[in-house]
Symmetry: C2
Subunit: 423 residues, 2 copies
């Protein structure tokens, strides 16, 4: 007998039928002798509908009130889920983030969890109840105001509760069968990964894989909580994310975990930067001050004839305008020639802890792209990841070519349904 934390996303509880299906799955876990704590997101489109309403009354809604509004979504899904479970003859109680002891800072709309004090949850499950907890929400430590955790918040709630309750596993139920070696919408032969280390999963998440967000994996790694990503529809064994393989999982990790791609970024090139100390610092200080998060940064060696160099970086498209505006203000002090902004790019990343000790991975990667006729615009590497920037139009060919080159293609032709997770 153990303690299991399960998380169900909005697509799993999109309507009454979905809620009843999920209720049955939860009851199964309880019948198997586990204590069960469930974290649930808002139903399907609820959040979008609430956002639309907010836009109708105020163009720039207050952060505090926006959080108060959005948290109504989980309140609805969790109460309905508890009712559905009770209707199956099992005891269930729902709890808001605040009641569950999810304590956050005061940054509305993207609060960070400071502490979890799950006393009421512990009492509830010890009394034999299934505890249903609202994902995505908490209460601020200082003002006792309702907060939300931002994107991927429900996954983070689940992992944080699992850590605070010392759970045996945190099961993340979604609408796909697990983490794949590539996005199955792009690569038909993508394979489900049985086990992946926290480190590789972190790299995949920051390279564009949307099944788990970086923040949630980071939290799980810090507290060493095994995550099991699986489908709420099929109920099949999914992907385990943990420090070490468990049970009958393969003992040795594959050289390559997978190929991720990301078309949500844009590229900015600062052309003709004088190659002297302090110039790059000025540029990136300006960007940091405008609160833009950047991703890859590449600087070429300067041309000997001119003493000028180019600096390129990628960033979320949403933040492109802010960054360009901030950079234009530094033009005089830095003395660069011009700015180029390009949002028709894709980032392709190959991730795998095995590449550290396997020479030739980088060469194989570039050869695959070359054979597919894909031009590389930027390159950036870490110990367990290689990323390149290509034209957005080339993304499909690039991912498929790399996936095949590293022997990741599945032999079956089963179609896989694949979608993003909610919050």
């Amino acid at each position: 007998m153990g303690l299991v934390v399960q998380k169900y996303g909005g697509s799993s509880v999109a309507d009454a039928e979905g809620i009843k299906r999920v209720a049955k799955r939860i009851v199964e876990a309880k019948k198997n002798g586990n204590q069960v704590v469930v974290v649930v997101s808002a139903m399907g489109d609820t959040t979008d509908e609430l956002i639309d309403l907010a836009q109708e009354v105020s163009p720039i809604p207050s952060g505090r009130e926006f959080d108060m509004l959005l948290t109504a979504g989980e309140r609805i899904s969790m109460a309905l889920l508890a009712m559905a479970i009770k209707n199956l003859g099992h005891e269930a109680q729902s709890f808001t983030g605040s009641q569950a002891g999810v304590i956050t800072d005061s940054v509305h709309n993207k609060a960070r969890i400071i502490d979890v004090t799950p006393g009421r949850i512990k009492t509830s499950v010890d009394e034999g109840n299934i505890a249903i907890v609202a994902g995505f929400q908490g209460v601020s430590q200082d003002k006792k105001d309702i907060t939300t955790l931002g994107r991927g918040g429900s996954d983070t709630t689940a992992v944080a509760l699992a850590a605070a309750l010392d759970a045996d596993v945190c099961e993340i139920y979604t609408d796909v069968d697990g983490v794949f070696t590539a996005d199955p919408r792009v690569v038909k032969k993508a394979r489900k990964i049985d086990w992946i280390s926290f480190e590789d999963m972190l790299e995949l998440a920051s390279s564009g894989s949307k099944v788990l967000l970086h923040r949630c994996v980071e939290y799980a790694r810090r507290y060493n909580i095994p995550i099991h990503v699986r489908s709420s529809f099929s109920g099949l064994r999914g992907t385990w994310v943990s420090n070490e393989p468990q049970g009958d999982q393969p003992m040795e990790q594959a050289i390559i975990s997978g190929v991720a791609h990301d078309t949500s970024e844009a590229k900015v090139t600062v052309v003709g930067v004088p190659d002297k100390p302090g110039e790059a610092a000025t540029i990136f200080r300006a960007i940091a001050d405008s609160e833009v998060n950047i991703d890859m940064v590449v600087q070429n060696v300067s041309a000997a004839s001119t003493g000028l160099t180019d600096i390129s970086f990628t960033l979320p498209k949403d933040e492109g305008r802010k960054a360009v505006t901030a950079l234009e203000k530094t033009k005089a002090s830095v003395g660069f020639d011009s700015l180029r902004y390009d949002d028709q790019i894709a980032k392709i990343s190959l991730v795998g802890a095995g590449m550290k000790t396997n020479p030739g991975v980088t060469a194989t990667f570039f050869e695959a792209l070359s054979n597919a006729g894909v031009n590389i615009e930027l390159i950036s590497t870490s110990e367990i990841r290689i990323s390149v920037v290509t034209r957005a139009d080339d993304v499909k060919e690039a991912v498929q070519a790399v996936h095949s080159a590293f022997g990741l293609d599945s032999e079956s032709d089963e179609a896989v349904v694949y979608g993003g997770t909610g919050r």
Copy 2:
């Protein structure tokens, strides 16, 4: 400068336009130099939609979870209202019933307020904010579970907060211009009442007037909080409900406050009850044990020849089956002949403190009904009220006849829009 508590019902905040209109009205009150606390119900049909969802997942939803579910409704409306006010350049903060300190007992779906500890509300308005509070909801004293107050709960929240904050007035905004001398849908010439005493308002409320519920008026009377019932659409002066007329209100109350009618009740007659001690007690104990609330009770003198009497009472139609079932079980012990159940009745009530000292009111009342050809089936009186039961078909003629007979008809022919309030 004073402290005003305003309450807006679901029909006043049914959509984004309604919320923006209400926001303007609230800001006016603030600009007039008042501290303003607003209690708001769920938007239009939200509650009904949530109830439908609950029915889809569970035929008999758990009380605790049902309350958790329904309270999402006010969470949405209050957050949107706070946003709309901030959008007009004024500071606003929304608070759940729990945050506002509305402490209740643990009876889910119809909790009673035990205490109000409005510390956060007080701080918020002292800091210059308009405080928006979720109506209809509270938190249970013992288990810290979310509760709802049942029908008319938002009005009760408003009055309870007004009492705890020692407010100058509790303004109940609704979709009608105030309390009328009769239901304007039935009596075209019904007049708006400028001022009415708590006592007369209590009698009207328990006789079928739906503008204010008995419970809310009772609370206001206990703590002597003047209520101002008015329209959120017209903004006109409405009806004041208080101990004594205030300001330029008429100093002397009319003899008759108004005529109320109620078609939501049914009549049960227990035929042929032996006229001996204890029989009535047995009958009404059986009804009380089945938790049915009864209204009028009438027993005729027994016929000398048989020693048998009939006992009639009225009760909500919804509870008819329960009462009849309970009574049938007592048939053997009481020894009555038969039960008659009739749900085609109406109750017509004339209310006015003046009737105590004005002889002839009863006679005029019966004459008016007789002239209109309306037959009287039951009669029940209190010091400030006369009620009769008639056929449901006769209700319109009966109310109009009584309204005219007591000189309540308005001289203007203005049409009045009239509807019930939400929760």
